[in-house]
């Protein structure tokens, strides 16, 4: 059994299903990011894992113990975790007393308490603010105090809900750096919720995509981002080209997908007649002014319908029977003289197409 395991976990408020059959396993020492849009149920799941709320149905096992055993067991298990809320609140006390409070609840006093608190305050870079009332700090500073307060108890599991969501970019960057230092320095198991995909990718060993209360996919960040298992996940992880079609032919796992009179070749083991989506990452699409013969199995003629410059890159939208987005460097776009209405050829490899079944 994994360190934390949820089995068929459901949470219902009134008529609404907030979480539906969540089965999640998290190993000790793992950094797991729960990603999903706002309102997906991330906070609800974190609250259940932290044993703040009780699920409508289903089980949570923490280190092999059934967390529903008794209130005393729940308190004992909760004391092995710490949770940094999305909008952290600080007690109306000094920074020092805020950080010390959870240790005092565990009976720590005297010199050892003082040393520990001061050390943790130093880790989060708040030593100069130690005696200040925490209520008078800025958002980023409050977040630091909240993280210090959680770290002080040396939790086996650190839960963080959108740790950078309410911060300006500068503070958010600092907090993310702090988290990544914590990951390197401590062996704590971390479960964090974020709607910021790149953040999940940067920090986590594994990500889980939670949408509408369902855990749609979990795995390494690379897997989830490159091989989304459903259209919803593909859309959420930023796959811009999701082309609906039907498998028209299949030969040795090379399939032809018919979509709006065009055929797309891809690698897949879906059977003929299956309704699928072809997902193509914009950076995998190659643009050329004339049809070139290459190993790319898919080549379409199209017309540029929109062009946006995004720093060093240019996002090109073209219409080639179906809409297709390509990402090229700004220099390429300039050299090729790309402009709205221009006829152009787009190519991508069959291996660059990720095929998923439509629901």
């Amino acid at each position: 059994m994994a360190f934390i395991e949820t089995i068929n976990l459901c949470q219902r408020y009134g008529e609404q299903d907030i979480l539906d059959n969540i089965n999640l396993s998290i190993e000790r020492g793992e950094v797991f990011a729960l990603i999903g849009p706002t309102g997906a149920g991330k906070t609800t799941l974190l609250r259940l894992i932290d044993l703040l709320d009780e699920p409508t149905s289903g089980k949570i096992y923490f280190d092999g113990t059934d967390t529903a055993e008794s209130p005393a067991v729940r308190l004992a298990l909760r004391r092995r975790m710490a949770f940094v809320l999305q909008k952290p609140v600080v007690f109306n006390l000094s920074v020092y007393d805020n950080v010390a409070s959870a240790l005092k609840w565990r009976g720590m006093r005297g010199q050892s308490l003082q040393e520990k608190v001061n050390k943790i305050i130093d880790v989060v870079g708040m030593s100069d603010y130690s005696s200040r009332n925490a209520r008078h700090l800025s958002g980023g500073e409050i977040q630091r105090v909240a993280i210090a307060r959680a770290l002080a108890i040396e939790p086996e599991v650190l839960l963080m809900d959108e740790p950078t969501a309410n911060l300006d970019p500068l503070s958010a960057g600092r907090i993310e750096e702090l988290i990544s230092n914590i990951i390197r320095k401590y062996t704590t198991t971390i479960i964090m919720a974020t709607h910021d995909l790149p953040q999940g990718q940067r920090l986590a060993d594994r990500v889980g995509v939670l949408m509408n209360g369902e855990l749609l996919q979990s795995g390494s960040a690379r897997d989830v981002f490159n091989s989304p298992r459903s259209k919803e996940v593909a859309e959420f992880v930023g796959v811009e080209n999701i082309i609906e079609g039907v498998i028209a032919s299949s030969e040795e796992n090379i399939v032809t997908i018919a979509s709006k009179g065009r055929s797309i070749e891809a690698i897949s083991d879906y059977a003929v007649g299956e309704e699928v989506c072809a997902c193509i990452r914009p950076e995998d699409v190659i643009l050329s002014l004339s049809r070139v013969s290459s190993s790319a199995r898919n080549s379409f003629e199209g017309e540029i319908s929109w062009l946006v410059s995004m720093g060093p890159l240019t996002r090109v939208e073209l219409q080639c029977g179906f809409p297709l987005v390509a990402m090229v460097t700004r220099r390429s776009a300039e050299e090729m003289g790309l402009a709205k209405g221009k006829k152009i050829f787009a190519a991508f490899k069959a291996t660059g197409v990720h095929v998923i079944r439509r629901n």
Binding site: R78, F91, N92, I153
Partner: protein, 228 residues
């Protein structure tokens, strides 16, 4: 007008010279009302927490009832306490009638609804996420309750000060169950009432000034506390 002016001058003289009678009455008033406020707080703050932290049937009704008693007339409390502690009453054997403890009991009953109601409001004013934060950091039920009380400490303190203000300014209870006995149960308010009816305005005004000064000090403290 001349009489009032003379009264005022004489009153100031009584105060600045620390007139023994004025000081004695003012001192007793303070002692009795501070005692009432402290004893009532010791009962009401835990009781209010108990009401706030537990869900039970009729909770809302109970809170409404408590709030209704904010404005209970002092003479009604006086009458109620009188009935209980008079010689023929159920607590007559204690011999409390016309003694300082009788006033303390009456004042406690008077201010308990205010203390309860305002403490419950103070606790209710604490952000829900404070409770989550405390629990998530491993606080037990009792530790969480202490965190919330600590967060609400300034509002709770304001409730206690309000209660004290109401206690020291009441006259009905002190008169009915204290008996206004000179040197024993005479407090500022009962003394003012008696001296005015006797025509001794100077002493009344001096005591009145002291009472208003106490009210002023209470208000200043209250404002300071509420600003934190």
């Amino acid at each position: 007008m001349v009489e009032l002016w003379n009264g005022l001058m004489r009153a100031v003289e009584l105060i600045v010279t620390f007139d023994p009678e004025v000081m004695e009455i003012a001192g007793r008033s303070l002692r009795i009302s501070v005692t009432s406020a402290i004893l009532a707080s010791l009962i009401c703050v835990p009781l209010a927490s108990l009401i706030h932290f537990h869900q039970f049937r009729g909770k809302r009704f109970l809170i409404n009832l408590i709030q209704t008693f904010y404005s209970v007339p002092t003479v009604v409390i006086g009458l109620f306490v009188f009935v209980f502690i008079s010689r023929a009453g159920p607590l007559g054997w204690l011999g409390l009638l016309f003694s300082p403890p009788a006033i303390v009991i009456g004042q406690m009953l008077l201010i308990m609804p205010i203390l309860l109601g305002l403490t419950i409001s103070a606790l209710r004013g604490v952000d829900r996420s404070i409770i989550d934060t405390a629990r998530s950091l491993g606080a037990s039920g009792l530790q969480t309750a202490i965190v919330i009380l600590r967060e609400a400490r300034f509002a709770v303190m304001a409730a206690v000060i309000m209660g004290f203000g109401r206690a020291i300014s009441e006259v009905g209870i002190s008169l009915m169950v204290g008996g206004n006995i000179r040197g024993f149960t005479r407090v500022i308010t009962t003394a003012i009432s008696l001296e005015t009816s006797k025509g001794d305005l100077e002493l009344s005004i001096a005591l009145g000034i002291i009472l208003i000064s106490i009210a002023l000090i209470i208000n200043i403290i209250l404002n300071r506390v509420q600003q934190r």
